[in-house]
Amino acid sequence: MALRFEDDFLKKLEYLHVVSKRAFVGQNRADRLAPKRGRGLEFADHRGYTPGDDFRQIDWKAYKRLGKLLLRLYDEEQDLPIYLFIDSSQSMREPAKFDQARRIAAALCYIGLAHLDRITILPFDKVVGQEVQPGRGKGRIFRVFEMLEAMDTAGPTNFRETFVKFATRPRQQGLAVVISDFLDPNGFEPGLKMLASMGHDIFVVHVASQADRNPGALGDLRFVDAETGDIRDVDVTPALAKAYGEAWQAHADELASFCGRYNLGYVRADAEEAFDTIILKTFRKGRFLA
């Protein structure tokens, strides 16, 4: 799949920025408010002078008026660490679904890069794969495109193992975006709970396709699990197909309900839905982009 966006679309993306519910401490100066005082442009407060403070920050007008040496304090504006988890397990092997996931990741990357955020792309299946940090600035988007185009599906899904491995390295707290179909035989809850416990602001992008929601065919079928290779012969009757559809809907509702309960952002991105609609409307409606 060739991941290329048209110029008009890229311009629209530049007007957007990723919304985090919390402020995080970044590493570099950027245009995102950090939870500490620093050298930003926005005035924040005064404090009393203590020896060793920078004379340049003394508010001489306040000294003239009050006769006290006060230091001007400013908000710090830093970058936001964004961790983009992309499910590359075999359950995502359906081209429409995986392409949609990669397109969403590319768009979010571009928005982040355009606002000098620090992006980390983490493909995962049963564990986190090789992570990529493209750097800062929107010019790095082509590296992101190349990396996403080269990405392939393999292995089973395991959220818990993925995030355990993710937690083995010390990382700055930031925004964690998980793009997946959330079809983990062990359940998605332990993994997401663990990720939330690391102090990250989590946003869940649930990618699904028509093939996930509906078995498609009726009759005697041999279902093969794409991740494990397990086989199950099923005589799919209309009633059974309906029950399967209901089970999938229950799974989706369960995920949405979990996200609501743990204050995680949730957006559903169906593979059949137009990509720009998801980015420009669905994500904004879900308050993930503004």
């Binding site: 359950s91 065919a217 041999r222 794409a226 494990t228 397990d230 199950r232």
Partner: protein, 585 residues
């Protein structure tokens, strides 16, 4: 039950094997198609969930198995050709004769026709007969030679329909052990006492046109008149609506109260102008036979004949012929003669190099390569002998003086009238595609122009050449036509098959209506009507007092194997449809 193609034990064995094969095939597990799914997680949840099965889900497999076995059984049964026959079938030869007279088309109280009852009975007899079966009708004779294949008999029965044949000879098949005659007895026949008669008779009311035609007016100013006779063969009085049409116009429409068994005649005056096609129709509340509700007739001479007179000096001839209002004469010189395709051509002392391709009168013709050559002259010939040909009808030869006659010989001509010395005076040729009349005398050499017989002779000649009258047949059936007949067209516009013999063409006119006859450029019409006191009185039967077996009404009439095949296809279709929707397995 009997089986047409095998013994009973073989049939039972075949059905059992078919059922077992169907059961085995049903049990065979076909490898299902592989479908790769993202995960079996959700399927496991669905399948592991204890779900209450509906009643249909519990029984659907058994229903599918039963349907599959039933399909195999009915198809196997169809192969065995089952029939309602009781006891073992004999190996003799059976002849089934269907009475195909028009009265068999009468509707019975159950709504079916006598013919439908007869066909059903014929099928039953054929299925139960065993051995060879032959099929015949009273109209067509033998329609299917002796055969052991009941399907051939079935197919032959499907082709048949009432078509008359009241007067035909009794069909015979050598070596027939049993003969079944299925009839309503409306047409009286003397049949052998060994023949088993099956009666489909049921008294039925009927109203019919039993006579219809056109004739010159007997009185008044009208040019002609149509006469029609309507009869009520019901046991109660009826109000009958009678309509007479000429061409597309209704010329008479009235209601007639007819007592039971009463017949009334009506005369409808016909104007000189108008079409030649006449049709009468009756409508009545109690009427079981539709075929005799319409009758057709043709007004001879309603359309003028186009005549081309080819002569250097026609003299009085053109005026004499042209004085007839039913003739339209065009005079041309021999040098200007061109072959045309309409009307009659008269060659006066001249003949073209090629045959004219249409009916022609040759007066004192010269030698010709295509017609013949002149022979000896005879002075003061006396016309003494004449035949009964339509050309000579009403011609008085004694008033004709002939000063000079030149004999003419041709292989295609047959002399109708000769002189005392044997010189042909008037000859006709009616061979394949050639219709000719030859007068061997010139008008100038006779007193014919002044003789009373001349208009009659000229009128007869032109009528016979250009507008031959074939009259009205009272019953459909075979008709002999002139050898020059090239085509007969049915009322539906379809050509009727012709059989040529040495001196005639025979056509079988199967349905009522007006048939168009083309004969060497002439055009005639034959009217065929069904209505007849013998046929239309469907309340009486000649079977009274005879040992007959009465055929009951009702029933499908189709052989069992056809029903079995139909049931098999219905079941297959139902299985396929429900399988597609996974209603069944």
């Amino acid at each position: 039950m009997s089986f047409g193609t095998m013994a009973a034990w073989q049939a039972v064995g075949l059905v059992a094997v078919a059922a077992a094969a169907a059961w085995l095939l049903f049990r065979i597990k076909v490898r299902p198609p592989r479908v790769q799914v993202p995960t079996l997680l959700l399927w496991r949840r669905v399948l592991d969930q204890i779900r209450e099965m509906t009643w249909w889900e519990r029984v659907r497999r058994a229903v599918s198995l039963a349907a599959t076995i039933l399909i195999a059984v009915v198809l196997a049964l169809a192969v065995t050709r089952p029939g309602p026959g009781a006891g073992p079938a004999s190996q003799g030869r059976t002849l089934i004769v269907l009475d195909s007279s028009w009265s068999m088309a009468a509707r019975t109280s159950t709504g079916e026709t006598r013919w439908q009852r007869a066909v059903r009975q014929a099928r039953t007899l054929a299925a139960a007969a065993g051995g060879d079966v032959a099929l015949a009708t009273t109209a067509d004779g033998l329609v299917e030679a002796p055969t052991s294949d009941v399907a051939l008999i079935e197919t032959a029965i499907d082709r048949l329909a009432p078509s008359g044949g009241e007067d035909t000879a009794w069909p015979r098949v050598p070596g027939a052990d049993r003969v079944h005659f299925i009839t309503d007895g409306a047409t009286e026949r003397v049949v052998d006492t060994a023949i088993t008669i099956h009666s489909v008779f049921e008294a039925a009311p009927n109203v019919a046109i039993v006579a219809f035609g056109a004739r010159p007016a007997s009185a008044g100013a009208a040019a002609g008149e149509a006469y029609v006779q309507v009869a009520n063969y019901a046991t109660s009085p009826q109000k009958v609506k009678l309509t007479v049409s000429r061409g597309t116009s209704v010329i008479s429409s009235n209601s007639v109260d007819l007592a039971a068994g009463e017949a009334v005649s009506q005369v409808v005056p016909l104007a000189a102008a108008g079409g030649a096609r006449l049709m009468a129709r009756v409508e009545a509340p109690d009427d079981s036979l539709a075929e005799d509700n319409e009758a057709f007739a043709w007004i001879d001479g309603a359309d003028p004949i186009e005549v081309t007179l080819v002569s250097e000096n026609p003299g009085a001839l053109a005026g004499l012929i042209g004085s007839d209002s039913r003739v339209r004469v065009t005079h041309v010189k021999p040098a200007d003669y061109r072959v045309s395709r309409e009307g009659v051509v008269i060659f006066d002392r001249w003949l073209p190099a090629e045959p004219p391709g249409r009916p022609a009168l040759a007066i004192a013709p010269p030698d010709s390569a295509w017609l013949g050559h002149k022979t000896t002259d005879e002075r003061f010939a006396r016309w003494t002998r004449g035949g009964n040909h339509p050309v000579l009808a009403g011609v008085d030869p004694l008033t004709v003086d002939m000063r000079r006659v030149t004999g003419y010989e041709s292989a295609d001509l047959a002399p109708l009238a000769r002189s005392e010395k044997g010189t042909p005076l008037i000859s006709v040729g009616d061979t394949n595609d050639r219709r000719l009349v030859v007068w061997t005398f010139a008008l100038a050499d006779t007193n014919l122009a002044n003789a009373p017989g001349f208009p009659v002779l000229a009128g007869n000649t032109l009528e016979w050449l250009g507008r031959p009258s074939y009259g009205v047949l009272r019953k459909p059936g075979p008709v002999r036509l002139p050898p020059s007949t090239s085509r007969v067209v049915s009322p539906a516009g379809q050509p009727v098959p012709l059989v040529r013999t040495a001196d005639a063409v025979v056509a079988r006119l199967p349905q009522p209506g007006l048939y168009l006859v083309d004969a060497a450029g002439s055009r005639g019409v034959i009217g065929v009507n069904v209505g007849d006191p013998q046929i239309s009185n469907v309340s009486r039967s000649s079977l009274a007092g005879l040992p007959v077996s009465q055929v009951a009404s009702g029933g499908a009439g189709r052989p069992w194997w056809m029903l079995a095949v139909a049931l098999g296809f219905v079941l297959v279709a139902a299985e396929w449809w429900t399988w597609q929707r996974r209603v069944t397995v």
